[in-house]
């Protein structure tokens, strides 16, 4: 059976499963559509949250980012998990107690202001739409590679599948589909990692193998890796090279952004009790940690494997020859990926060998001159292909490759569906029911939620087909916006009775505008290339890159809110009572009945 047929079986089979679940768990009421009838078990909810949260960025990109940078990119590992501590301690239980359907509804009620609610809706839609575009692009790329169709066709198939199960199933369908997607994606991520860890370290648990001994050399794996990458002139894998302040702020921005992203917060509305919301955050992190503890091992081991492949006789011996790459079966993956344009090599000095080294390092330039090398000949290695190509690099059976294809798609599709739900509930519940037509029937609200979702899919597909120059920037923008606008408003709403309507609105607007401004100054106005005044290599403020600015935006939000609240009319007593009631779990069931 050819690899293509195997991929088709895995991807097709997993999709049939998701759609089957969506039909089985169809939403009949608004409560089921927005919050799955609040009947989801905390462990189930944790698993669905994990699938919802782990997107194409976690599954496809992260290990590659760590592999080629090493320690400095640990920021992603700490940032994307540390946010769950903030969620569990500062937001989830209180928002569940409040017992409404959307994040903006809480902001609107707590700050007794429909302006605050609408500002929150805007922040939420901007953050979610930008994030969903990235997912749709990822879906297109993964389909294109594995189903051997064009990027455009791949994206359209993906959009149709998301449409089918998100629109009909609502939160109830999405929750149960995401449980299935989690199982697919975690198997797809860990099975190849276990094989590779066994090959390199003899330890079946990749997270332990990372700190274990390299079987071939008998040295610790990381010592071996440090040694061979530095022999090729690259930065040592385990040492700290980037700017410390920027590293701290970037990690903090990812943490706060995680806790402020509406599609994640929404998940905690689906559990039956406040106590369950606390457990559920823990379970979500358990399921996320299974992937996040494996990712650094995948990165380090892949880097070692790739370096070994390019220098089969050791870094002092002869490099791999062009003939070997073209004829030996273990180099087949290079030809496959070369076709996608994401991997490339060129025998610049015509010696029939491909020398892979850091040609920007002065010592290596001297060595290259002595040996007659004409620069690094592995000219292109896109970091995003690392996880997808990993099973082929390690020469694993073809069913593993099919499984990884299904896993990458599950990661992208589950996040896209969660984001679309957040967008549709903001439009139908906050904008239409809350603002334009409060007397809308439940049926009408459900219909408008589905229409909003369909419109969002069309917009995201269109932008995914014609990306206005974004990729990783969009993800950074989504996190920055969520960190600077939504998280501070929610936290102040729960922990301070002093913050009033004016304070909250001013704070959100200030955080949002300053963060957007900083991003546009570095990435170009509305991401149009060439319109930027600064670059992340030489940022406006010291060493603070635009991707790290969310934390500062959040600080501005807090400061402005306190300042404005101090100068305006005090919070009324009934709102203070509302805050007091949100702080204690008892009575959550009652709050849920009056929606």
């Amino acid at each position: 059976m050819s690899q293509f047929v195997i991929n088709l079986l895995f991807v097709g089979g997993s999709f049939a499963l998701y759609i089957g679940i969506a039909i089985w768990a169809r939403a009949g009421s608004t409560s089921e559509f927005y919050a799955a009838g609040r009947g989801v078990h905390p462990v189930t909810n944790g698993m669905a949250t994990a699938a919802d949260w782990m997107s194409a960025a976690s599954f496809i990109s992260m290990a590659g980012l760590i592999a080629f940078t090493g320690y400095d990119n640990s920021t992603f590992l700490m940032g994307w998990t540390g946010g769950y501590v903030l969620l569990a301690l500062l937001l989830a239980p209180y928002l569940r107690k409040f017992g409404k359907f959307t994040v903006s509804e809480f902001i609107g009620d707590r700050f007794y202001s429909s302006t605050a609610r609408m500002v929150a809706v805007v922040c939420l839609i901007v953050a979610s739409v930008t994030y969903v575009i990235g997912q749709m692009t990822g879906v297109g790329v993964a389909f294109g590679r594995f189903l051997e169709v064009s990027n455009t066709t791949g994206l359209l198939i993906g959009a149709a599948v998301v449409f089918a199960y998100a629109v009909f199933g609502g939160m109830k369908g999405v929750t149960y589909t995401q449980v299935a997607q989690y199982v697919v994606l975690i198997l797809a991520y860990t099975i190849p990692a276990i094989f590779i860890s066994l090959q390199l370290t003899g330890n079946p648990i990749p997270a332990l193998g990372l700190f274990g001994d390299h079987v071939a050399s008998g040295e610790p794996l990381l010592t071996k890796l440090d040694q061979i990458v530095s022999e090729l002139g690259f930065n040592e894998y385990t040492t700290h090279h980037s700017d410390t302040l920027n590293m701290v702020l970037f990690t903090l921005s990812l943490m706060i952004g995680t806790a402020g992203l509406p599609h994640v917060i929404m998940r905690f509305f689906t559990v039956p009790k406040v106590a369950d919301a606390r457990w559920s955050a823990g379970w979500a992190l358990v399921f996320i940690a299974l992937l996040y503890l494996t990712a650094p091992a995948v990165g380090a081991m892949a880097r070692l494997n790739i370096t070994d492949m390019m220098w089969p006789n050791g870094t002092d011996g002869a490099a791999v020859s062009v003939e070997q790459i073209e004829t030996e079966p273990r180099y087949d993956w290079m030809a496959t990926w070369q076709k996608t344009g994401l991997l490339g090599w060129e025998d610049k000095n015509g010696d029939g060998l491909i020398q892979y080294y850091n040609d920007k390092n002065a010592d290596m330039q001297a060595k290259a001159e002595a040996n007659g090398w004409a620069g690094n000949e592995l000219t292109n290695f896109n970091r995003d292909i690392l996880v997808l190509a990993n099973p082929e690099i390690a020469n694993l059976p073809s069913w593993v490759i099919g499984l990884v294809a299904a896993g990458g798609l599950a990661a992208a599709l589950s996040t896209a569906a969660g984001l679309l739900l957040a967008i549709s509930s903001a439009v139908s519940h906050d904008l239409i029911k809350g603002q334009l037509n409060p007397n809308i029937s439940e049926k009408g609200e459900l219909l408008s939620a589905r229409i909003a979702m369909a419109v969002a899919i069309v917009v995201a597909t269109y932008l995914g087909l014609n990306p206005p120059g974004f990729a990783a920037q969009t993800v950074a923008l989504a996190f920055g916006l969520a960190a600077a606008s939504i998280f501070p408003a929610l936290m102040m709403g729960i922990f301070s009775t002093k913050i009033n309507n004016h304070g909250a609105v001013a704070g959100m607007l200030a955080g949002l505008t300053v963060t957007l401004l900083y991003i546009f100054l570095h990435k170009g106005w509305f991401f149009i290339p060439g319109t930027n005044s600064f670059t992340d290599a030489d940022p406006l403020l010291g060493t603070i890159q635009s991707t790290s600015f969310g934390a500062i935006g959040a600080a501005i939000n807090f400061a402005v809110a306190y300042l404005v609240a101090g100068m305006t009319k005090e919070t009324p007593q009934e709102i203070k009572d509302l805050v007091e009631s949100v702080r204690v779990p008892r009575g959550a069931a009652a709050a849920q009945a009056d929606h």
Partner: protein, 85 residues
């Protein structure tokens, strides 16, 4: 439930949150980044303890923190009579 009991409950919660967040920051920003040079003498599997905290230790600590907080708070809810019936 009396107002006094609610105040005591909230104070206990705030104390727990503060302690948890100090640990949260210590393992990630502290051991993982800023204090890593201080921990460089302790070696773990071919590298130092700071690297382990940055790539695994902080995530494991976060897990323990969330479950400890959930367990402790659910107990506090009952002690102060504010749990859901």
């Amino acid at each position: 439930m009396s107002e006094r009991s609610d105040k005591a409950y909230w104070a206990a919660n705030m104390r727990l949150i503060k302690i948890s967040l100090v640990i949260w920051a210590l393992v990630s920003f502290g051991f993982g980044i800023l204090l890593r040079p201080l921990l460089s003498g302790i070696s773990v599997g071919g590298t130092d303890l700071g690297f382990w905290f940055a790539q695994q230790g902080s995530i494991l600590t976060f897990l323990v923190l969330i479950f400890f907080y959930a367990w402790r708070m659910n107990k506090l809810d009952r002690e102060h009579g504010v749990d859901e019936l």
